[in-house]
Symmetry: C2
Subunit: 436 residues, 2 copies
């Protein structure tokens, strides 16, 4: 077996983790592969800052082309993130005949089709387990041992920043803004947290999960993405009274004809294992026609867990190189030619249970008028909580609906929010109940 040489683009936190892992567990990896896996070159614009890991002399370069031009390098790891220059670098690596491992969900969610086509044309691999769920080996499982299933659902807590913020809001009854500020101080949230807290990062990851689970292409711009910035502690409290916890969920569903792909705050049962996934942990729950529900939980980001997924992919490709083969499976588990473009179900047509919080002036018949409008729109009420009466302030009427069509609910809310006793826009949170 021959020594396999690897090049790394992007020497940030995860890059340093990969250096550390390949060094600390070199003997284990060599034992398993039968040959060493060696990091030959690291390209980064900054080759000066100390990343806290030992890099042998001659490994660091500011010239990324050294990787593409080096015939010894068989695999290129892309860890710079974002669209460009990541896209160009990945395509250059592929065109130079290198296999690629990337943690870049944004890149694959938007330019995946172009990259996968280029890789197919050159007969090289593009693997991306580290792009979803950090160290959790969920993509490998979908492409691998779960591959005989038709999946109906994939749900995920995929963003550690949001989950950390929601966990603290839930535990402390704190406001979003104050928890975000603390998270930023602790380094759990970026200075500009938009990508994370508005659900965009989660939507990127959902695109990949949906493609793997349902064998369909997904347009990122069609994915409904709502974040957590408008969540209020009062909703978290009411959720608990109904027996729920609020999580930012990525939800993919498929009935074989059309699929759903949406990201939004979601109430899930307090006693479901998913509800206990707190802090920076991620979780993915799949439902397959034969396996039934299966769930994966682990650290969704960070230096070491993500490095575990990167090196796992390096080992997978190395086994192929040693066996003299390539692309034993295709990047999405489905042969590229058979990946379809199923239609995405519009949000108005999805069906869900709903939590609706109405802010009303406390006067007689308010509830009956709200219930009347809901009923007129075909929405039936499963349970209701009304807060203590108050002549001065507006009070809350909180309703949990039975399964209803989103378009009907939205139509009802337009009518209700126009009623004279409504003091604020009604708050809607979707409920996922069936998570045994």
């Amino acid at each position: 077996m021959k020594d396999i040489k690897v090049g790394l683009i992007g020497f940030g936190t995860v890059g340093a983790g990969v250096v550390k892992l390949l060094s600390e567990n070199a003997a284990l990896i060599q034992q398993k592969l039968g040959a060493p896996l060696t990091l030959k070159t690291i390209a980064d614009l900054d080759v000066v800052t100390d990343r806290g890991v030992v890099v042998p002399p001659g490994v660091l370069t500011t010239n990324v082309n050294e990787l593409f031009d080096d015939p010894e390098i068989a695999i290129v790891i892309e860890l710079i993130g974002g669209y460009e220059p990541a896209r160009s670098f990945v395509l250059k690596a592929i065109n130079a005949g290198k296999h690629v491992v990337t943690a870049n969900k944004a890149l694959l969610a938007v330019h995946g089709q172009e990259i996968f086509a280029a890789a197919a044309a050159k007969g090289v691999e593009v693997l991306f387990e580290p792009a979803v769920g950090g160290g959790i080996p969920v993509l490998s499982a979908i492409r691998g041992n779960l591959g005989a299933n038709r999946f109906s659902t994939v749900l995920g807590i995929l963003n550690g920043t949001c989950n950390y913020i929601l966990t603290r809001m839930t535990e402390e009854g704190a406001e979003f803004a104050s928890v975000l500020a603390t998270a930023q101080e602790l380094g759990y949230a970026e200075a500009d947290p938009t990508f994370d807290v508005e659900g965009i990062d989660t939507a990127h990851k959902l695109c990949l999960l949906v493609s793997l689970c349902f064998g369909t292409r997904v347009k990122l711009e069609e994915v409904h993405a709502e974040g957590i910035s408008s969540l209020s502690p009062v909703d978290i409290t009411f959720a608990k009274e109904f027996g729920y916890k609020i999580k930012l969920l990525a939800i993919g569903k498929c009935d074989g004809q059309r699929f759903e792909a949406r990201v939004h705050p979601t109430m899930i049962p307090l006693n479901s294992p998913l509800a206990d996934v707190d802090g920076v942990f991620n979780a993915i729950r799949l439902a397959g026609d034969f396996v039934g529900p299966v769930m994966f939980i682990g650290r969704g980001a960070g230096m070491n867990p993500t490095a575990s997924a990167v090196v796992g992919e390096l080992m997978d490709i190395s086994r192929n190189i040693h066996a003299g083969i390539s692309r034993r499976t295709s990047p999405l588990g489905y042969p590229d030619a058979s990946v379809t473009t199923l239609p995405l179900k519009p949000m108005g047509e999805i069906s869900s249970k709903y939590y609706l919080r109405f802010s009303v002036v406390d006067r007689p018949k308010v509830l009956s008028r709200i219930a009347g409008v809901l009923g007129d729109n075909g929405i039936s009420i499963e349970s209701m909580i009304q807060t203590a009466r108050s002549a001065q302030e507006s009070v809350s009427i909180v309703i949990k609906s039975h399964e209803a069509r989103e378009a009907d609910v939205r139509a009802a809310l337009v009518q209700i929010d126009a009623l004279e006793f409504i003091t604020e826009k009604t708050n809607l949170i979707r409920i996922e109940d069936n998570l045994e």
Copy 2:
């Protein structure tokens, strides 16, 4: 790509699931593999009973040798369970150059070394994802994307019968015997439940997990196996007061020098995701040096989930056949030659927190004498509950210890149980606390 033909030995519940899956999802499987996967022959002593699935004419046979002698059959699935004739059939299949997929944990836990050696000599695969955790793809993950990690711990809820019984005991405060009887009526427990409730089935599965995680051979007879038959509802109640739930856990640990492999009722924190794994669900929690903790939850048995794992392995082997290779990885993830035999840590040397329930006559100084003996043996107390006083009956003193050596705890209990005010043998349950 050529059509791959499969033979099945054992047409029971899981076998029927495999027939159903290969039939219902034939198009999906062909789409992913690029060629059909066809069940050509099913061997069973009973070819008459209706299993509720359609079998084409000419597929069923009572003569198992038809499978071994058929050059068209590339993969043999063994689903008869037990040691013999399963062992002979698997060895015959291997010697006939067939790849093998088996769900037989008992066979591999006891005869794994012989079977893996035979497979290595013939250059064929032996895959066994269905043997542990039903449809949960945990073995594939350990051999695959998590492969760069050194694992320190593997914990599992691996027996659905025990978990169902414990869940009902916990929810209803019921006695073991009465819940077992109901479980037997419902078909969740065998007429002779010994293998399940005494932890032996769990120990079989632990042997496989330990071998994959730590790269070591394990002797089944050295694994400490305690079942759930002596658990009492009162311990479940006290567990809850301490913030714990009782689960039958398989526990493997490794410090690189020695390993632990033990099965026993264990208290785990109520708010850990593992504690919410109820009923017939299974879960496996790994801790790797880079990935950190990662957990898998799913249906641990049954026709469809286990069939999912069987066919997942068939697809894995099919991909190798199509690529013209074999044994891209070895059965245990480590090359057979590098699997070692680490020493097993004797139970007396393990370290754990302990729940100790003392049954005592209620009189002065009882607690101080118990605490004194514990202290003399180096065991310190973290918290304590004493039940309501009663002059007539014996009362319980329940103690949660800090981390202690098992041998010290046992020595202390021998001394304490000899004290004149002790009315019953002291009950000991180990605690696993650190399961974030």
